[in-house]
Amino acid sequence: MAGRGKLIAVIGDEDTCTGFLLGGIGELNKNRKPNFLVVEKDTSITEIEETFKSFLARNDIGIILINQFIAEMIRHAIDAHMQSIPAVLEIPSKEHPYDASKDSILRRAKGMFSAEDFR
């Protein structure tokens, strides 16, 4: 709680990152590591996954915002994250509207009434 608080990280397309950086969440730390990743057409899934995992490992990040279509690419990594900090938020992108049925958190909530929960 002490200090300046935590950062908000973004993994998204150019416009999403530009928008959030305009909002003032961007940071380049002393090691020149940014808290955002602009995903282009040629960005590999491995790179996205590594960046996501590095954001999870950083203790100065409180929330990770990720475009849902990118989240779909690394769904296993998102589903494996069970801690509440950093919180992972899936957001829509220009070409892909938000679909609640794909959201990790809502799927977890939906699974509440399944038989597996009572075992």
Partner: protein
């Protein structure tokens, strides 16, 4: 006895379920608001791009030094929920970081005083006197650092001095999105907590239900 417990447990399950549904509804509302604000932001960025030129609003325009203007604070509550809230980074924070960076990056002599000069060996007495004087007075030149107190740069300036109104609108939309995303993050963690509690109380209720037939059979035997 078991029946009373079962009633209590059933009530608790109902209560938790209603709470869970309320949270879900609230999350849905906030999600809708977030999505429409993001869409508005994109539209404004596209308008700005239209008026400024295609390459004027892109990742290439990001500054080489970026400092956050907004931070999120995460506070763990007594019941295990996490409360996220955004806060603007104050100038003092940026000064701290400036201090840090300057301590790392400063290279070269830091003295700003006059350096010693070699005197001609004209007369010894004069020289001795000078040395005495020096030993008495020799000022330890304290390094004076002039800090540049540059204010935190507004990200709007990355894209030019006179940016179109639409880019400002995009900025304000995304600022709202950032605040809303902190609220959604809080709600998500609260919802998952409620879900876990609900699952636990449902299991508890089921265990009690299994006990009832056993208790009834005991009574019939007696």
């Amino acid at each position: 006895m078991v029946g009373e417990k079962l009633d209590g447990s059933a009530l608790l399950v109902d209560e938790k379920l209603l709470h869970f549904m309320d949270q879900l509804e609230l999350l849905e509302e906030k999600r809708v608001a977030l999505n429409s604000l993001i869409e508005q932001g994109w539209l404004s960025i596209s308008k700005a791009r239209y008026s400024m030129g295609n390459k004027q609003v892109s990742a290439l325009q990001y500054a080489s030094e970026i400092e956050p203007l907004v931070c999120v604070h995460a506070r763990t509550l007594d019941n295990g929920e996490v409360d996220f809230f955004t806060k603007k980074v104050e100038q003092s924070c940026s000064n701290e970081t400036e201090k840090d960076t300057s301590s790392v990056e400063d290279i070269g002599p830091q003295e700003e005083g006059v350096r010693r000069r070699i005197k001609p060996k004209s007369d010894k007495t004069n020289k001795d006197a000078c040395e005495e004087e020096r030993s008495e007075k020799t000022p330890e030149v304290t390094p004076v650092r002039q800090k540049e107190h540059s204010p935190q740069q507004d990200p709007l300036k990355w894209f030019g001095i006179l940016v179109p109104q639409s880019l400002k609108q995009a900025q304000s939309s995304f600022k709202q999105v950032i605040e809303l995303s902190a609220e959604i993050a809080t709600l998500q963690t609260a919802m998952l907590k409620t879900r876990q509690e609900l699952v636990d109380s449902m299991k508890n209720k089921q265990a009690l239900q299994e006990k009832i037939p056993a208790a009834q059979s005991d009574q019939t035997v007696e």
